[in-house]
Symmetry: C2
Subunit: 302 residues, 2 copies
């Protein structure tokens, strides 16, 4: 019954500076977060690229979660994608201090032959032209979820707009929804985005929960009450990975399953933000995740 | 089974300037909003003061909602409390342009003899010393809910801190919770406020819903998806009035009833903000309110 999920995105070294601490050369990238999150729910197939400098112990961390790495290319020509960012006091803003594309500069996702007919595909946050390229490569009619970010709205909006009608689900945050539509009211922004192509939409509001826009209506989930925010990097990727992981586990995209998935996605993201990189999420275990799911249910259900 | 609610607060003339329009000499004041909101659920007793200039048609509006006005004093010595405020673009901030206390300057709430033994009391947003005075005047052991605002945290913090241990429920917004505790994390702020005296707490987060802090745990409700925000004045008063109104209607403060009340409070506040003053709330009718309650349930319940 459970189906695998094909996840395409970045795998990276991150340097992250928060008001509390600094993480150096830690495992990052949209596909890394999404894959570990997804692996709690379904068989996960990662497609991405790393350079010759990629730490073998990071590979072990993926393997420990049973992630299929056939699609993780090792590009002998260079180094792994690197990103350095700094969060301001209270995590109110994030500034990119350095970015080195390295092997990511010429990356063109290659889907292994055996994985070209997936049921569930997550297009992690990479250039929308690459996301479209992935959809060109695969066959059949999978459920397609995409994440994106403000950067692409600013420098590759046309590509993003071309991608949207090919999506079953777009997952963005409230600031991005305003940037994409010019609408500051998140409800109006969501309604406008649905007219731009994706069948469904999730708008994440950080500590204020998330809203699913579905043809059957809207659905809201509160955030998990995080009191130990340490590093929000990867929260969105983890959210999306867990979300599609639950759909694949149930092999269903029924509204009721999408709603459950929202709760699991929220629970998963709350673990990610409690430590640098994947440190908390990958060690938490399925039981901790289920416990948070149940807490979220208790927190919101009459 | 249903019990009456005693509501003490301000009754005022407001001038309100929004990015869209201006409302002049409109009905305002914490007790006005709270009483009309409460009247949809329970018999409502208003205690407040107006001046000789108070528009008799405003009295009729209260009476149309069956509000008991025995405690509404008409002070022959002056004019009604007046407030003028302006909202910035996107309702992001509110500035007080003018304030004339008038008869409110010497106001001391007088509880009619027949109403001195209430079961449910709402202390609307007035000076905390006056709120405490009301509690001195009444007998028995009613359920006491209080609203307050940033002003009192800045100019009468001692009075407010003295009031808190006398409350069953404090209702404030997220900015106020940070001002009161110095905590920007709303969960930590809420936990801290519970140590300051009130048995329970609600923190409202505007378009991001509200959180109930209860000895039995937290409970979250999303906001109603308002797309026609016209004037947020009175949203908090309406929220609190509806909340206690539902408790009184059920004559219960069980956790399950408090949760239901959160949904009704949210539905009620969403009507208030769609027009100036009480224009939308007072004409909406119980059916419109019930419809929004049901929508909120659909929006959040699995």
């Amino acid at each position: 019954m459970s189906k695998p999920v094909l996840i395409v995105g970045s795998v990276a070294y991150d340097n992250i500076i928060t008001p509390f601490a600094k993480g150096t050369q830690i495992l990052g990238g949209s596909a890394s977060y999404a894959s570990i999150a997804c692996s709690y729910f379904s068989q996960t197939q990662l497609v991405g690229v790393v350079g010759t400098d990629f730490d073998p112990s990071f590979i072990e961390r993926f393997k420990k979660h049973g992630i299929d790495l056939e699609g993780l290319e090792v590009d002998e020509s260079g180094k792994t994608f690197f990103w350095e960012g700094e969060y301001s006091e209270g995590f109110k803003t994030r500034e990119t201090l350095a970015i080195e594309l390295n092997v990511f500069e010429t990356f063109e996702p290659k889907i292994p032959e055996s994985k070209k007919n997936p049921s569930f595909v997550m297009l992690g946050n990479i250039a929308p032209s690459l996301q479209s390229h992935v959809l060109d490569e695969i066959e059949g009619n999978p459920f397609v979820l995409a994440d994106t970010m403000d950067l692409w709205m600013n420098i590759a909006k046309e590509d993003l707009l071309n991608l949207l009608p090919r999506l079953d689900m777009l997952v963005i945050n409230d600031e991005e929804s305003e940037l994409l539509t010019g609408e500051s009211n998140v409800i109006l922004a969501g309604q406008k985005i649905l007219t731009m192509g994706p069948k469904m939409l999730i708008i994440k509001k950080g500590p204020n929960g998330a809203i699913l826009f579905h043809p059957g209506g809207m659905f809201c989930v509160p955030s998990y009450p995080v009191t130990e925010l340490r590093d929000p990097t990867g929260a969105g990727d983890s959210f999306a990975g867990a979300f599609i992981g639950h759909l694949a586990a149930k092999d269903s995209t029924d509204f009721s399953v999408l709603k459950e998935a929202l709760f699991y996605a929220t629970a998963t993201a709350s673990l990610t933000v409690e430590a640098f990189s994947l440190e908390r999420l990958e060690t938490a275990g399925k039981e901790a995740l289920e416990a948070r799911y149940k807490e979220l249910i208790k927190l919101s259900q009459l």
